[in-house]
């Protein structure tokens, strides 16, 4: 049980399970492409981590693995202590429904659906009743500053507003871990900054945030930066994790 180590005293002396833990993780695609190659990574609860790297570096693969949408070909991925490779589809789905929130570069809002309904769909697979879903969707939209856009459909919203709807959908279920894949990639600078502010705010409220970005400025604002290149972690601003990794490998 060597993985259950002390995590830098963040929680005093209580042993805690990290939000995310990669142990020697590789992801080899069927064609033989090594998207990830022996990555060790540990993200504590409540951290905000920016994953940076050029395109094709494997940073999206990291996010897919954390999001349990993909499974490693080697090594172990643990999300809140659950070995992703060992869970069946139902358990993974339950984990995603209750503990994970996703924000995508392209928003993925359903066409012609009102913002409140789209956000409420974020709770659909948690089994909450429709009325509760709607109430919480209104709350979530209010939190991201779109209280007056509840009945708007995607084409009536600006890009920044759409991304905020998507964030509301991601956090409506109060996930412990928010995963954002280039959330500002399709936005202008001002809206992008607003979206990043929102992510920081969520982080301050206790959500663990993992954000992929190739925007240096956004990345620089994150408390921790992990740089991925050619399927490996080449730099990690959190020395604890880096030393842990070196210690093991």
């Amino acid at each position: 049980m060597s993985v259950r180590e002390e995590s830098g005293g963040r929680e005093g002396f209580r042993e805690t399970v990290p939000a995310v833990e990669f142990v020697g993780v590789s992801r080899v695609h069927p064609g033989g492409v090594r998207a990830l190659d022996g990555v060790d990574l540990r993200v504590e609860r409540g951290e905000m981590v920016a994953i940076v790297g050029p395109s094709g570096s494997g940073k999206s693969t990291v996010l897919n693995l954390v999001g349990t949408l993909d499974a490693p070909t080697e090594g172990t991925v643990r999300v809140f202590g659950h070995d992703v490779g060992a869970l069946d589809d139902g358990a993974l789905s339950a984990l995603r429904a209750r503990s994970l929130g996703f924000v995508f570069q392209r928003f993925h809002l359903a066409p012609n659906v009102r913002a409140v309904d789209d956000v409420a769909d974020g709770l659909l697979y948690t089994g909450s009743p429709a009325r509760v879903r709607r109430t919480r969707a209104v709350e979530a939209l209010t939190r991201v500053g779109l209280a007056d856009r509840i009945d708007h459909r995607p084409h009536e919203l600006s890009g920044g507003q759409r991304q905020r709807v998507a964030i509301a959908r991601a956090v409506v279920g109060a996930p412990a871990l928010l995963l954002a894949d280039e959330p500002t990639g399709a936005l202008d600078t001002a809206s992008g900054a607003a979206v990043m502010d929102l992510l920081h705010e969520l982080h301050r409220d206790g959500v663990t945030v993992l954000v992929i970005t190739h925007d240096r400025e956004s990345a620089a604002l994150a408390p921790r930066r992990v740089e991925v290149r050619d399927g490996r972690v080449v730099a990690d601003s959190a020395t604890v994790s880096v030393s842990a990794r070196e210690g093991r490998s």
Binding site: H82, L100, V113, L124, Y125, A174, E182, D205
Partner: protein
């Protein structure tokens, strides 16, 4: 701002963790904190939530709402097939209802007795006493006889070429005939005691049409043989005795006197007690001609009407088959739409998986969508089929009849078709790898 407990792992110590004993740290619950406390019981295991049937329905329908044109077009295929089948069933049911109404009006208690052929193939005749003996049977209520008068043709005037006889037959009839057949006159009136012995004629419906008799005046005459007869009446079509439609009916007395009729009955129409009709059918031949009962032909005209209806069955079967083919094509259309839909909606599928949809939930979503699509077509098709039936029945003057099982069966069939058509696309959708939506390329 976001109301959430700040304490890291505030719930970490809550509850023992016996679920996945093999893994470390599973006592630290992954579920979010704070107000989710009420769900703590469910956290011990990562078990996906079940969607309510209504949520399944809503989710399945959401895919249809987003693409109305495609939905209408592919539902139309199903609708056409269902409409074809429903209208075939409806039209046949309406026709049957009409027949039943007709038979109820005309009665199924009419039997005809006619001379058949002798053992050697010659034409038999009914004995003179035949009618009297039939009359005396206790089950018989009333009778009427007619005699076909050979060699007499009917013309509007003597200017009409002899060849254009129109095939109109001439019958010498009793005054009782009208009541026995429950026939009705369209114009003028039936014979009374006086006109039966005079050169007066009542025309059958199609005979009147051929002769161009559309109204009756004192000098409306037709030429029968070489005698002018005054037209006193025109009959409505006689369903139970269609042989009288293209005929000129003259009183038996006049027929014998002016047209050389012999007095042999060529047909006896018999109304019997409806309860005992089958016994009468057995006995009546022997009563009509005790010496040679085999030379008597007994039939029941209402059976012939029913048989005519039955003959339509073959055509109905063919039409139903065609409807079935249309339905099949409609089902293929739904399957096609669903396959394309699944291909197009990789992003949505990925997103839903990210939101926590199990493969099962995705499968159900697409299956429900296919079934709803098909059902939509089915309901529309039933409505369309009912309208077609209604119009057809109105045009033919039939009562409208559509059996309930046709509607229910059609709807059930479309749901089944939708399920079959949606199965493969739904399996494909569920098997799809979810990262399609995540990749930001």
């Amino acid at each position: 701002m976001i109301g959430r407990g700040k304490g890291e792992g505030r719930t970490a110590r809550r509850g023992g963790a016996k679920d996945h004993g093999t893994r470390p740290g599973n006592e630290d619950r992954t579920a979010p904190r704070g107000r989710r406390g009420s769900r703590s019981a469910g956290r011990d295991r990562l078990r996906p939530a079940r969607l309510s049937p209504l949520d399944h329905l809503r989710t399945g329908a959401s895919g249809l709402r987003a693409r109305p044109t495609r939905v209408v077009l592919s539902a139309l295929g199903i609708a056409i097939g269902i409409a074809a089948m429903v209208s075939v069933v409806g039209i046949s049911a309406s026709g049957r209802a009409d027949l039943e109404a007709t038979l109820a009006r005309l009665g199924t208690d009419l039997i005809t007795v006619a001379p058949g052929s002798t053992l050697f193939g010659g034409n038999a005749t009914l004995p003179e006493e035949a009618r009297g003996r039939i009359d005396r049977m206790p089950e018989v209520e009333r009778t009427a006889r007619v005699e076909s008068v050979g060699g007499a043709n009917v013309y509007r005037s003597d200017l009409v070429p002899k060849a254009e006889s129109g095939g109109i037959g001439v019958y010498g009839v009793d005054v009782d005939l009208l009541d026995t057949l429950r026939a009705e006159t369209a114009l003028g009136e039936w014979f009374n005691g006086a006109t039966a012995d005079h050169p007066a004629v009542v025309l059958g419906a199609s005979a009147a049409e051929r002769l161009g008799v559309t109204r009756i005046t004192p000098d409306t005459l037709v030429l029968i043989g070489d005698v002018y007869f005054a037209v006193v009446g025109v009959l409505e079509p006689v369903e139970l005795a269609p042989e009288l439609d293209n005929a000129a009916l003259v009183g038996q007395g006049a027929a014998e006197e002016l047209l050389g009729a012999t007095g042999d009955a060529s047909m006896v129409y018999v109304r019997v007690d409806p309860e005992r009709i089958s016994e009468v059918r057995e006995l009546i031949g022997r009563n009509a001609n005790p010496e040679r009962p085999n030379e008597v032909e007994v039939s029941r005209p209402s059976d012939a009407l029913a048989a005519g209806q039955a003959a339509d069955r073959t055509l109905q079967g063919l039409l139903l088959g065609l409807g079935g083919v249309a339905l099949l094509v409609g089902g293929v259309g739904v399957a096609n739409t669903m396959v394309i839909s699944v291909l197009e909606r990789r992003g949505e599928i990925g997103l839903r998986r990210a939101l926590g949809a199990t493969r099962g939930a995705i499968r159900v979503q697409f299956l429900v969508e296919a079934m709803a699509l098909s059902l939509l077509g089915g309901v529309f098709g039933v409505a369309l089929g009912a309208v077609v039936t209604l119009v057809f029945a109105l045009v033919r003057g039939w009562p409208f009849a559509l059996p309930w099982w046709a509607g229910v069966g059609a709807v059930a069939a479309t749901v089944a078709i939708g399920a079959v058509a949606g199965l493969l696309p739904a399996l494909r959708a569920a098997a799809q790898h979810p990262i399609g939506a995540l990749s930001a390329d």
